[in-house]
Structure formats: structure tokens, C-alpha cells
């Protein structure tokens, strides 16, 4: 949460000559972060980020307290001042006959640990004086009139929310305040005219009839709200349990300043000084008269629990030893009571520090006030763990990316969450995708099971680019019943290059991973042209993914990275170099339409040991020219040996593929 503090207002609580820049720098190094300093109406105004565990700093006085402690550590004179409302007398300003009765307050200590209330009579709705209006403007709070503005002003100065009721409305509704957890289904209207219905459990103020007359510490209701006719005010402070405030505020999404403070455990001891300042201002600005005794029901007055801090632990966290006196002094100026008990300290934190519960919390106070910037810095010299997770090979993943990039492919990072249309585009039913309960936008709704639609979208978005080949290596999410989804790393490739070029790149990639051979097995299908891919490795065929032809003459490849990494190697199994010279010959065959030339080549290869290599040299219409390399085991193979092999090739191709040789054998 952020709080705005004008510098002159701060100086009412802090005696120092430090200028705003110094304050900003030093406070940020050891305490709340002063993110910005604005110049507003001639003053410096600090914009301070206060962390959720330090609601005690969400006020002018709270920041002043921090500043006093921190500046002193930096050698700058600074002291917390006595507040100017300390000496406010809370006795009635009118004789007994003119006093007004307090409403009957029925508290539930389980829900609320303190209630303070007082009746203010003849409250004049004067316009807010300029000095107060200026400060409210400087802290971005709307200016209304004194009666309302005083409540906002004192909350900001002291740190405890306070509410002003129209006293007469309250008394007309029965003059009773019952604090309870609301039943379900009760309607109420807030003072800005919005209607709500309880869900059950919200802490409310009700009258005897069960009408809700306030949503305490969150927002007032219309039926007891101050307006132009208000003559008398009931000023009230409650200390309702933080989690209850959070529940009601979050349920109805009423996120007022009061709610955001109270849900973080504001110190109930702040109620009295807040009251004092409030009464002082109502008297001065509205000519109000205190017309009742001060009601203060505070039986609990609980102290935070003591914290034991072994001095050894301070040294363990900081890596150096601090003098005990210094440690005690730091804790003392932060408001703690410290007893030295041998090698440990017994610490009583102040009531406004509910966040100090364990030794580590105390150590944080010591360390930040001592100054993190004062600690040396060194890398740990402890043992290095050697237990790597199984089945991870980040180096090989990067090698694959670099290789693809070098041969012309652009790596993409696309969103893991996809639209309904994209999810359907994979052919998987929507029910097979994990879905978000609370998506932000409709185009990011399902956890994807394929990279392909996202990569196809890239090509669609870059239609002016010409040849474009993109890839992505990312997880897809396969739902598993009663468990987290399986995260499977995939490598997806999509390109509008000619099919042979894309397949060639894939073959080159596999060769780069020392995978012997790529086997392509087309799937039977009328609607799509798709094939399964296998890596041949040590006699095994490992399925690694699929390749398919998409509309607009695009090719898509989907590879399973786990399988690829299993098949891959980082070094070759060297083949001995041929001893003799090869004989290289071409043979041209006319293949019937829709013949898989890859299968023809495989057939040829297996016909004789002497056939070392078969390549596709040229295609002209249906005429395919194969370049066949013959290699004898030790010496050059002779023409006589080759002739029967050639014959066998011609015969086999005719039998198996109805392919006829062009020319003579």
C-alpha cells in the first residue's frame, strides 16, 4: 500500500533539519521505500510504499517514528516529538442537564476488542479551513466539509480509522448498537447509495430490530450517515478482528482506506490518541461540544507475546558480531522492552508491532536499522550440490535452438494460454484441455496441448515476409485425472518453404544430433497428409513426432523433446573410411503417381551389401533419377559385379512399385 506524507505535516511529529532528499534516501535504505517525492502546492510530498506487515507505518506519526530511528543511525539529528493532542481533556463541555445519552453498545469481545465512543453536540458544518484542505489535496483525498474531513484527516495522521454517525438518526433507529456477525440475506445501503446483501458472517452494527446501521471499519450506511441536516455526531472507533474485516471487505469488494488498514491488524491502542485529535479538531473547527462521557470498552489490552532472541542467531544471520549494547539500543528506540538474559535477549515488542513474533522478525529489525549497506558481501564457500535432476539436458535444448537458427529458423515464444478456436484447431476436443476458471481475456483461456496453431498464427501475422520458418520449444499440458497435468516439452516447427527444404532441415538437425536415420511412415488419411517420424538408433525405432502438410502449402513438424533427447548423442559412432574407390552410377525410373520415393530408396538400399548409398538426384515429371554408390568390401567393385545388382534393382522396382527403368540395365 502507498501513503502520501507532506513534509511539513511530518515535521509536526519529527524534529529534524534533514531535507526531503536526505529523508527519501535514508528512509528507503533502512525502512519504507520512498518511491517518489512530489512538489505539491509548494511542499514536498513523499509517496511511500508501506509493506503489508507494517500497518503501523501507514500514518504521519508512524512514518515519523521510523524516520526518527533511521536518521539517527545515519548520524542525522532527529527526534520523535510529543504529539500536540496529548493534553486534550476528554471531559464534557456542557453541564449535565445538557448532555446527550450515549447509545447502548452491546459488544462481542470475540469479534471486537475495543469500542470507544463520544457524543458531540451542536456540530457546525463549517467549510474545511484552508490549512486542512491543502493537506487533504496534497494526499489526494477529496475535500467536503469539516465534519467529514476531520475523520479522514485524523486517520491519516494517527493511523486508526474512525467513524462519525449522525447521532439523531442513530437514536431514532432505537439508540442501540449491537455488534454481531450478520445472518445471511440481510440488505443494507452504504452511505454512497450502493445496495448490498449479506452472505452471512460479516461483522455489522445492528439495532434491536435487526436493521444494519453500519458496516464497521469499512463503510457507513445511509441510514446513519452524516448529511446537511446533521446537528449532533456520535464519534466512534471500533477494533474489529482483522480477518473479519478482510472477509467482509473482500466479499463485497468494498475496499476503503479504513478496510485496507483494519484488515492488517491496526493497534487498538491508537484509538485513544486518534480520539483526542478528533475531539480537539471538532471543538476548534466545528464549535462542537463534548456532550457525553467518553465510552471506552477495552478489557483486553493484550500485549504481544515476548520473543526470545539468542544473540548467537544475530551473528548467524548477519555473518558478523554486533555489540550487545548496540542491539539493545536499536530495539529500544524501535519501542521494544529488552532484557538481557545471559546469551539471549527477552524482547517485549510494542503493541503497534504485531508483526514481531519470531527471532527472525527481530533480527530483521536489527539488521535493517544497522544498515544492509553496512554488511560486507561475499559468495558462500559451502559445498556444491552435484545431484542433478534426471532427464534434463538444457545444453542439448540450446544446441538444437542454435542449430535451427543457423539454418534459417526463427525461434518464437508464444502464449501457453490459447483461445477456444486455437484449441479446436489441434483436433483435440476442448474437454481434453485444462481451462481457466478466471481468465483475463477470451483469447487466453485454455492451456495448450500443441504448439502448432500458435506457430501457424505467426505465419498468418507475417504474410508480407515471404519465406518464413519458425519454431518453438515449450511445454504442452496433458490433463491427468486427480493430478497435475503432465508437462511435456515439445519442439514445434512451421514453415512455408517447399516441403523438401523443410524435411531437409529436419534431416540436418537429426544428423547434427548424431541420429543415424529419419524414418517417415505416412498415415492413412484422406483429409490430411501426415506421417509419423521415427529416429533410427542402434537398431531401434524411436517415435519422435509427426510431420504434416497444412493449407497454404505449409509444413508443420511436431517433435517430442524427451524422445529426441533419448535418441540424440553428443558425439558420433565413427564409421571406418572406405578403403576402395566407389563406383557411382545413375538409374532413372518412371514411378507411378503417388509413389513414396523414400520407400523406393529404402528398397534399393536393402538389395545388396555393395550398395553404399542411394540419393535422389533429379525429378522430371514422373522420372526419378537415383544416384547409386557401389562399394566393395576391400577392393574396387568391378563392372561384372555391379551388373547383376542393377538387374535386381530394375526387377524389384518393377515388381514392388510398377516402376519401369528408363533405358537399358
Amino acid at each position: 500500500m502507498n501513503i502520501l506524507i507532506p513534509h511539513p505535516w511530518l515535521l509536526e511529529h519529527l524534529d529534524t533539519d534533514a531535507d526531503p532528499t536526505t529523508l527519501q534516501t535514508n528512509l528507503s535504505l533502512s525502512g519504507p521505500s520512498v518511491e517518489r517525492v512530489y512538489e505539491r502546492e509548494g511542499d514536498s510530498v513523499y509517496d511511500i510504499e508501506v509493506t503489508t506487515n507494517r500497518v503501523d507505518s501507514m500514518s504521519v506519526r508512524g512514518i515519523a517514528r521510523e524516520a526518527a530511528v533511521i536518521l539517527e543511525q545515519f548520524g542525522i539529528r532527529a527526534q520523535l516529538k510529543q504529539p500536540n493532542y496529548e493534553e486534550v481533556f476528554l471531559v464534557p463541555d456542557v453541564p449535565e442537564e445538557e448532555m446527550l445519552p450515549l447509545p447502548a453498545i452491546h459488544n462481542d469481545l470475540e469479534l471486537c476488542e475495543r469500542i470507544m465512543a463520544v457524543v458531540l453536540k451542536d456540530v457546525e458544518r463549517t467549510s474545511t479551513p484552508e490549512w486542512m484542505a491543502k493537506r487533504l489535496r496534497q494526499i489526494d483525498i477529496n475535500v467536503h466539509d469539516s465534519v467529514i474531513d476531520i475523520t479522514n484527516y485524523i486517520t491519516h495522521e494517527v493511523g486508526h480509522p474512525v467513524h462519525a454517525f449522525d447521532y439523531d438518526k442513530l437514536m431514532a433507529l432505537g439508540g442501540e448498537i449491537i455488534i454481531k456477525a450478520a445472518a445471511k440475506g440481510k440488505k443494507f445501503v452504504t452511505l454512497d447509495g450502493l445496495e448490498f446483501e449479506t452472505v452471512g458472517g460479516e461483522v455489522v452494527f445492528e439495532n434491536r430490530e435487526g436493521t444494519i446501521i453500519d458496516l464497521p471499519s469499512i463503510k457507513g450506511t445511509a441510514n446513519t450517515a452524516v448529511d446537511e441536516q446533521t446537528r449532533n455526531v456520535l464519534l466512534l472507533i471500533d477494533s474489529i478482528e482483522a480477518s473479519k474485516i478482510r472477509f467482509a471487505s473482500m466479499t463485497h469488494q468494498i475496499r476503503t482506506v479504513a478496510a485496507q488498514l483494519k484488515e492488517k491488524q491496526v493497534d487498538p491502542h491508537l484509538a485513544l490518541p486518534t480520539f483526542k485529535l478528533g475531539i480537539k479538531l471538532y471543538r476548534e473547527l466545528c464549535s462542537a461540544k463534548v456532550a457525553s462521557p467518553l465510552y471506552d470498552d477495552f478489557p483486553g489490552e493484550r500485549q504481544p507475546a515476548k520473543v526470545i532472541l539468542p544473540l548467537q542467531k544475530v551473528e548467524e544471520y548477519l555473518g558478523l558480531q554486533l555489540e550487545t549494547e548496540k542491539i539493545v539500543h536499536i530495539l529500544d528506540i524501535l519501542g521494544c522492552e529488552v532484557k538481557v538474559e545471559g546469551e539471549q535477549l527477552s524482547i517485549q515488542p510494542p503493541t503497534f508491532r504485531p508483526d514481531l513474533k519470531i527471532a527472525a522478525d527481530i533480527i530483521e529489525e536489527i539488521a535493517r536499522i544497522y544498515g544492509y549497506h553496512n554488511l560486507p558481501s561475499q559468495i558462500m564457500a559451502t559445498a556444491i550440490p552435484l545431484n542433478k535432476p534426471a532427464n534434463s539436458n538444457y545444453a542439448l535444448e540450446m544446441k538444437i535452438k542454435r542449430f535451427l537458427a543457423t539454418i534459417g529458423w526463427q525461434e518464437m515464444y508464444t502464449y501457453s494460454l490459447i483461445s477456444e478456436a486455437m484449441a479446436l484447431a489441434t483436433g483435440q476436443p476442448l474437454a481434453n484441455h485444462l481451462k481457466l476458471e478466471n481468465p483475463l481475456t477470451e483469447d487466453q483461456l485454455y492451456l495448450r496441448r500443441s504448439l502448432q496453431p500458435s506457430l501457424v498464427q505467426v505465419l498468418n501475422d507475417n504474410s508480407t515476409q515471404g519465406n518464413l520458418s519458425v519454431f518453438e520449444m515449450a511445454n504442452v499440458y496433458i490433463p491427468v485425472e486427480n493430478d497435475l497435468p503432465r508437462h511435456e516439452l515439445r519442439l514445434g516447427l512451421v514453415s512455408n518453404k517447399p516441403y523438401r527444404a523443410v524435411k531437409g532441415d529436419l534431416e540436418a538437425l537429426l544428423r547434427n544430433l548424431f541420429i543415424e536415420e529419419l524414418i517417415v511412415k505416412p498415415l492413412e488419411s484422406e483429409s490430411t497428409q501426415k506421417a509419423e517420424l521415427f529416429a533410427a538408433e542402434a537398431g531401434k525405432e524411436i517415435p519422435i513426432g509427426t510431420i504434416s502438410v497444412l493449407p497454404k502449402a505449409r509444413t508443420a513438424i511436431n517433435l517430442d523433446m524427451a524422445a529426441l533427447l533419448e535418441a540424440a548423442s553428443t558425439y558420433p559412432q565413427l564409421q571406418p573410411l572406405p578403403k576402395a574407390a566407389p563406383v557411382i552410377e545413375d538409374m532413372t525410373f518412371t514411378l507411378p503417381e503417388k509413389t513414396f520415393s523414400g520407400q523406393v530408396i529404402n528398397t534399393i538400399k536393402q538389395l545388396a551389401d555393395a550398395i553404399y548409398q542411394v540419393e535422389l538426384k533429379d525429378i522430371y515429371q514422373q522420372n526419378y533419377t537415383f544416384t547409386i554408390t557401389y562399394l566393395g568390401p576391400n577392393a574396387s567393385i568391378s563392372a561384372e559385379d555391379i551388373k547383376p545388382i542393377r538387374q535386381k534393382i530394375a526387377d524389384t522396382l518393377m515388381t514392388e512399385y510398377r516402376a519401369s527403368l528408363v533405358g537399358a540395365v
Binding site: 528507503s28 533502512s30 519504507p32 521505500s33 509493506t51 503489508t52 507494517r54 480477518s243 473482500m250 484488515e263 492488517k264 548467524e316 544471520y317 548477519l318 555473518g319 527472525a360 522478525d361 539488521a367 535493517r368 544492509y372 554488511l375 558481501s377 559468495i379 558462500m380 559451502t382 559445498a383 556444491i384 550440490p385 545431484n387 535432476p389 534434463s392 540450446m398 535451427l404 537458427a405 543457423t406 539454418i407 534459417g408 526463427q410 525461434e411 518464437m412 515464444y413 502464449y415 494460454l417 481451462k435 481457466l436 476458471e437 478466471n438 483475463l440 487466453q444 492451456l447 498464427q457 505467426v458 507475417n462 519465406n467 518464413l468 515449450a474 499440458y477 497435475l484 497435468p485 508437462h487
Partner: protein, 354 residues
């Protein structure tokens, strides 16, 4: 023929070619090394050499051939007319090269920096149980601390013990998982992966990447956290880079810190040297917050988190940090990424530049 006779013949052939005046290298090739050339005549005579001397003879002939080829090549070079003029300034024909995505580049650099000081790289689920993402990190259900992160929930039943299935808002879900994986310290983890938050604008995307460091052992203290952060800053941004930690609050660390790196434009001073504003004051640097950039959070691992991971906080301490990959990368000097959404966009013209 004997080997010495062969030797003699070879020498004669060498001398002869040296004295040739024939300028045409092709003619010389034919005369000496052609099918019916002088060298082949000599080769035929190897049949007359005794079997024991044949290997030596073969060697001799190979040397001779090499020498003849060399001489002919020299003549060929010398006799060459100047080649056609080459335009040395012509634009080259570049091969079509693609690119590795900047996020991959950043992740690799980050990984390398931490692996050098003994960290193990790991990956943990992006879709995880509430328990690992929040509860084990000292954030009970409905706690205001969870408001910090706008969480995506997965549509489906909750786990009886581990809570709802969520998209992890931070790589910190890896902390307790790593403690479970190793069982006991020493732990030096660098967990890098996709993270998800319900937010989208010029500096936020719903999907992004974080890297998380976790070090747990006996005697780990705040100085080690400072040392590690400082080491990273200098490796990633350069030797001039400075780092600092300031007080902050996370439920899963105590003490908690915000980590800043110095602005490379104003060198951590907050002011631009040699420039003044209208008031005559040194010009404020507009790129940073008073000389520093916030990069993310860090802290000493909260004892409750160690316990959730089965590690005794009385014996061991640890520190952790978690930062955005994109954010950290965008602070590199001169990079000029002004809208993080471009990193996940499909515009090739942007990605091509990396």
C-alpha cells in the same frame, strides 16, 4: 630394374620438367602426367622391380608425382592472365539465417552465470497445487499477502490436501519442491520457468518468465545473499554495475529485501552529468528511480518454509531471490525494449533484430 636405377630416372624426369619452356600448363600435364605421359611410363616399369623393393619404389613414385604436380601448378599460376576484375565492395550474398529468441538468450546467460558458481538448473511445474505456490511458502488461504499476485485458477476439483490447481505466479513454488528432491542441504538451485499473472499492459504480460535462486546450508547468511546478487549484477550488466538490498516484506522470507541494480545511464547517482534543469539543478535521470532500477525480491528463507520442506531451521539457513527474466534483461544498457508484449508478439521484424 633396380631401385637405384628407378631413382636415377626419377631425378632425370624432375630436372627435365624444371627446364621446360612450354608455357601451357595443360600441355605439360598431358606430357608428364597424362595416360601416355612420361610418369606413367616410369610407373609401368615398376613391374620389373623385385617384390622386396616394390614398396620403396611405390613411395618414390608418389613423391615424384607430387613434385611434378607442384611444378605444373606453379607454371599454371605464373602464366595466368589477370582474372576478370572482382568488385570487392559488392554486397555479399548472405545465407538465410534465423535467430534464437531473446528470452532464450537471456535464460542461457543467466543459467551460465549461476552454473559457474555451482548452482544446479532445474524446472518445476507451471501448473501446480496451491500448497506449493502459496501455503508451503507461509501464506495460508485467504491471507492478504496473496493479493500481491493476481492468480489464475484452473477449472476443476481441488486436491484434498494440496488445495486448488493454479498457474504458478512465481518460480518460488520450486523452493519446497527442490528441498523435497534433495532431502537435505547443500542446496544451490536456479529454477527458470514460465509464470502467470492476471495482468496485461506495457510492462506486464499474462505469461512471462522468472528465475529463482535458492541456497540452503549451514552458516548461510545475508552477506552471502549480497555477494551472490553482486556477482550476478557484474556478470550480467558489466563490471561497473552495483547492487543493493533494501527492506521489504514477503511472507516466505525474513528478513525480506527489494533488490536494485544501478542505472547504467546515471551510474547510480540519479543525476545526469553535465546537464542542468530550469532551476539550475543537476538534471534528474529520467530512466531510473533516483539512480537505481528495481529488479525483484530476495530474502532469508523463512523458518516455516524450511520446515515445510523437511529441513530443520535450527541447523540450516538459506537465502532466495526471484526476478523476472524479461525485466532483468530489459535493463541491459542500450537495449531499448519499451513494451514487453513485443517479446511474445508475432512480429518477425522485432525478433529478427536479436
Amino acid at each position: 630394374m633396380t631401385i637405384s636405377e628407378l631413382q636415377e630416372q626419377a631425378t632425370q624426369l624432375k630436372n627435365r620438367i624444371q627446364q621446360e619452356t612450354e608455357p601451357d600448363p595443360q600441355a605439360l600435364q598431358t606430357k608428364y602426367l597424362g595416360k601416355k605421359g612420361l610418369f606413367n611410363d616410369l610407373v609401368k616399369s615398376i613391374a620389373a622391380i623385385s617384390p622386396e623393393e616394390r614398396p620403396a619404389a611405390g613411395q618414390l613414385l608418389n613423391e615424384l608425382k607430387t613434385e611434378l604436380e607442384t611444378v605444373i601448378a606453379k607454371i599454371s599460376e605464373a602464366g595466368k592472365r589477370p582474372a576478370d576484375w572482382v568488385d570487392l565492395t559488392i554486397p555479399g550474398l548472405q545465407p538465410k539465417v534465423g535467430g534464437v529468441h531473446p528470452i532464450s538468450q537471456a535464460i542461457e546467460e543467466i543459467t551460465h552465470i549461476f552454473e559457474k558458481i555451482g548452482f544446479t538448473r532445474v524446472s518445476y511445474p507451471e501448473v501446480d497445487w496451491d500448497w506449493y505456490v502459496f501455503e508451503a511458502l507461509n501464506m495460508p488461504p485467504n491471507h492478504p499477502a496473496r493479493d500481491e499476485w493476481e492468480t489464475f485458477f484452473v477449472d476443476g476439483p481441488a486436491h484434498p490436501e494440496k488445495g486448488k490447481m493454479v498457474l504458478t505466479t512465481h518460480t518460488s513454488n520450486g523452493q519446497v519442491r527442490e528441498m523435497e528432491r534433495l532431502g537435505q542441504p547443500p542446496i544451490r538451485m536456479i529454477n527458470i520457468g514460465r509464470t502467470y499473472r492476471r495482468q496485461q499492459d506495457a510492462t506486464h504480460t499474462q505469461v512471462f518468465h522468472q528465475f529463482e535462486g535458492l541456497v540452503v546450508d549451514q552458516g548461510i547468511n545475508i552477506q552471502h545473499l549480497k555477494g551472490t546478487i553482486d556477482y550476478f549484477a557484474k556478470e550480467f550488466y558489466g563490471p561497473e554495475a552495483k547492487s543493493r538490498i533494501r527492506p521489504f516484506h514477503f511472507k516466505f522470507t525474513e528478513p525480506s529485501f527489494e533488490v536494485d541494480f544501478s542505472c547504467h545511464i546515471c551510474h547510480g547517482t540519479g543525476r545526469l552529468e553535465g546537464q542542468v534543469d530550469e532551476a539550475g539543478q543537476p538534471q534528474k535521470c529520467r530512466f531510473c528511480k533516483s539512480g537505481w532500477h528495481e529488479v525483484g525480491g530476495a530474502g532469508m528463507v523463512h523458518p516455516n518454509v524450511l520446515e515445510a520442506g523437511g529441513i530443520d531451521p535450527e541447523v540450516y539457513t538459506g537465502f532466495a531471490f526471484g526476478w523476472g527474466v524479461e525485466r532483468t534483461y530489459s535493463l541491459k544498457e542500450g537495449l531499448n525494449i519499451d513494451d514487453i508484449r513485443q517479446l511474445y508478439g508475432t512480429d518477425i521484424r522485432f525478433l529478427e533484430q536479436f
